[in-house]
């Protein structure tokens, strides 16, 4: 009994949210391609024995932006944390299934999670620069990785790649905490780039930013995808439609008897198709704003 939800649905339909070009070619799904950056098979996550994410299978391609959308609590963050083994840091979290990174299972027993994270960058919801200078923030990753080249150059290139150089080149020695929120988030992106990963994971990178800073991050992502695969979690469907090539829709399933809840991958594919001709009713309801 909420009169506003129907009206907001109508509004969304009127504004015709997804203005994404039609897919040029049919999307092949669930087919392991050697070019995939990630090949994820039957990925499940448990927190202290309770299942939180169930049987997700998905391929991530290079030089594309993949958006992960879905209602709050459906397991988007849980999913993205699996891709660089950040879930290892959560006591009681267990991961089953396979995450192949260029064909190598990052959950194989002989793989060191520290080494995984050195190849796969991550940007968080709240900008989290270290309480150090701008320069030392960028240099942190290269330094712990034993970088031997020209550090000044690497710092400059990373800041340029994150479209931040012009704004901070005169205050490299100043604390990063003096930057604005949007600048801090681009600094965090530059910091991730500086370890030269080929994937960047972003968990709602713009949700703590104002609209102008958000646009700058989205523009930056378009630049970055020429070089990196980007996976972005967002609960903002317009953002997913604006920035991504492909979209994966996660949704919460509920067991009626035990009232346990877990996230599943409902469908994924070309962003244009997900928003205009979704195969699943739940996707259709979600992208048209019929629920949360």
């Amino acid at each position: 009994m909420n009169p506003s939800s129907t009206s907001s649905t109508r509004e969304r339909e009127e504004t015709g949210l997804p203005m994404v070009p039609e897919a040029a070619e049919p999307v092949e799904e669930h087919k392991t391609s050697t070019s995939a950056v990630f090949t994820i098979r039957d990925l499940s996550v448990y927190y202290g024995g309770n299942i939180a994410l169930k049987d997700v299978s998905l391929d991530i391609r290079p030089r594309e932006i993949t958006a992960i959308i879905g209602p709050s609590g459906c397991g988007k963050s849980t999913f993205i944390r699996c891709l660089n083994r950040m879930n290892d840091l959560i006591p009681g979290a267990t991961v089953t299934g396979e995450v192949l990174y260029h064909g190598q299972n990052i959950y194989a027993p002989d793989v060191d999670p520290v080494a995984v994270r050195r190849r796969i960058g991550m940007v968080f919801q709240r900008p989290n620069p270290f309480p150090k200078s701008v320069y030392d923030n960028i240099a942190f990753g290269p330094r712990i990785n034993g970088f031997k080249g020209n550090l000044d150059e690497l710092v400059e290139n990373s800041l340029r790649a994150a479209a931040l150089w012009e704004e901070v080149k005169d205050k490299l020695k100043k604390s990063a905490l003096n930057l604005s929120g949007g600048q801090q988030q681009r600094l965090c992106i530059a910091r991730a780039i500086a370890v030269e990963p080929d994937v960047i994971l972003m968990d709602e990178p713009a949700s703590a930013l104002d609209p102008i800073a958000t646009v700058r991050i989205e523009d930056l992502m378009q630049e970055l995808k020429k070089q990196y695969a980007i996976i972005i979690v967002t609960h903002n469907m317009q953002q997913a439609a604006r920035v991504s090539e492909r979209t994966a829709f996660l949704y919460t399933e509920v067991d009626e008897e035990t009232s346990n809840r877990w996230g599943i991958l409902v469908e994924h594919g070309e962003t244009g198709l997900i928003f205009t001709r979704p195969k699943d009713k739940r996707t259709e309801d979600y992208v048209s704003g019929r629920f949360g």
């Binding site: 009169p3 660089n84 950040m86 840091l89 520290v114 080494a115 994270r117 050195r118 190849r119 960058g121 991550m122 968080f124 709240r126 989290n128 620069p129 270290f130 309480p131 150090k132 942190f140 990753g141 712990i144 990785n145 604390s175 965090c188 910091r191 991730a192 370890v195």
Partner: protein, 323 residues
């Protein structure tokens, strides 16, 4: 929709505006009463402090006048002859405190980091409680434990070992004694470890997890994460914790008096007996009279000044680090 539309209509129709009236009554009076009480107690603290400084300085003034600068630059302390030079006590206070810090800071930080970053949850609680308990033990207990247990079991053998192995360095030259700067410094360290580690633990706990994740996501190991993310964020607070520990060490009386060896001369070797400012006051006050008493009060004034200087220095460091 109806209920939403109604008040809007009323406002549009021009409801009589309610004038803003100042609040009266108990709430208002409590407010102003509170600020008066706060201001009074604030100025009372300042008054007491000023009174302490003035009255002790006044008592000590004849000694300061008679001795001049040599009061703090000479180490001639012969009350019977009227010689009052306290350099040996200043030296002892600084040396015992420095030894205490050198030993206590790494141990305290180790405990704090272990408790927050490494220890499994079931260990955390008991150890935290134990450390807090140690902070509450009266210093005379530490002093007695130092003399009767630590001295024969550890301090004397350790002093002998130090001087036999490193004796060629003047600061470890023999003949070694457990009752020494070293002995007092070790017991001081035991006393300030609980303080420094408890405060550092709280500071490290306030470091946001976001910082930790940022470091881990760049491929940091746990140690790299601690060094790169946790310690920089907690640096100012940890320095503050160390300074509080130092303050306690500088002023500690009984434990040092029992262990420092009560030698009124300066010894370059830390395994030789010495004295400290607080210890000399405690030991000699009972038997002193006349100028001797005034000289001991003067020692107290200098100790107070040193403590203030250390505190201001600490503040400045913390401020510099905070930005």
């Amino acid at each position: 929709m109806q209920s939403q539309a109604k008040p809007l209509g009323d406002i549009a129709g021009g409801i009589a505006p309610v004038p803003i009236e100042n609040r009266k009554g108990v709430g208002r009076r409590a407010d102003s009463l509170f600020s008066v009480v706060a201001a009074l107690s604030g100025s009372l603290v300042l008054l007491i402090l000023a009174f302490m400084v003035l009255s002790t300085t006044n008592t000590a003034l004849p000694i300061f006048r008679a001795e001049g600068i040599s009061f703090v630059t000479s180490s001639d302390w012969h009350p019977a002859n009227g010689d009052y030079g306290i350099l040996a006590f200043i030296y002892g206070t600084l040396v015992t405190s420095a030894i205490a810090l050198v030993i206590a800071v790494p141990i305290s930080l180790g405990i704090a980091i272990y408790l927050v970053e490494v220890a499994p949850r079931w260990i955390k609680g008991p150890i935290t409680y134990l450390v807090d308990l140690l902070a509450a033990v009266p210093s005379v207990v530490y002093g007695l434990w130092g003399v009767f247990v630590l001295l024969p079991l550890f301090l004397q053998p350790a002093a002998e070992l130090l001087s036999s192995v490193l004796g060629f360095i003047p600061i470890f030259a023999g003949p070694p004694s457990g009752l020494s700067y070293f002995g007092a410094g070790v017991v001081l360290a035991v006393m300030i470890v609980p303080i420094i580690s408890a405060l550092s633990r709280e500071i490290i706990q306030t470091v946001p997890d976001d910082d930790r994740y940022a470091a881990y996501a760049l491929g940091a190991t746990r140690w790299e994460m601690i060094r790169g993310a946790v310690l920089p964020r907690g640096r100012a607070g940890i320095v503050g914790a160390v300074m509080l520990g130092l303050g306690r060490a500088l002023g500690e009386t009984i434990a040092v008096a029992l262990l420092v060896g009560s030698a009124t001369t300066i010894n370059t070797s830390v395994v030789r007996p010495g004295y400290s400012m607080a210890a000399v006051i405690a030991n000699q006050f009972q038997e002193a009279s006349g100028d001797h008493i005034k000289a001991l009060v003067a020692v107290g004034v200098v100790l107070f000044a040193i403590t203030i200087i250390v505190n201001i220095g600490a503040r400045l460091i913390v401020w510099r680090m905070a930005d």
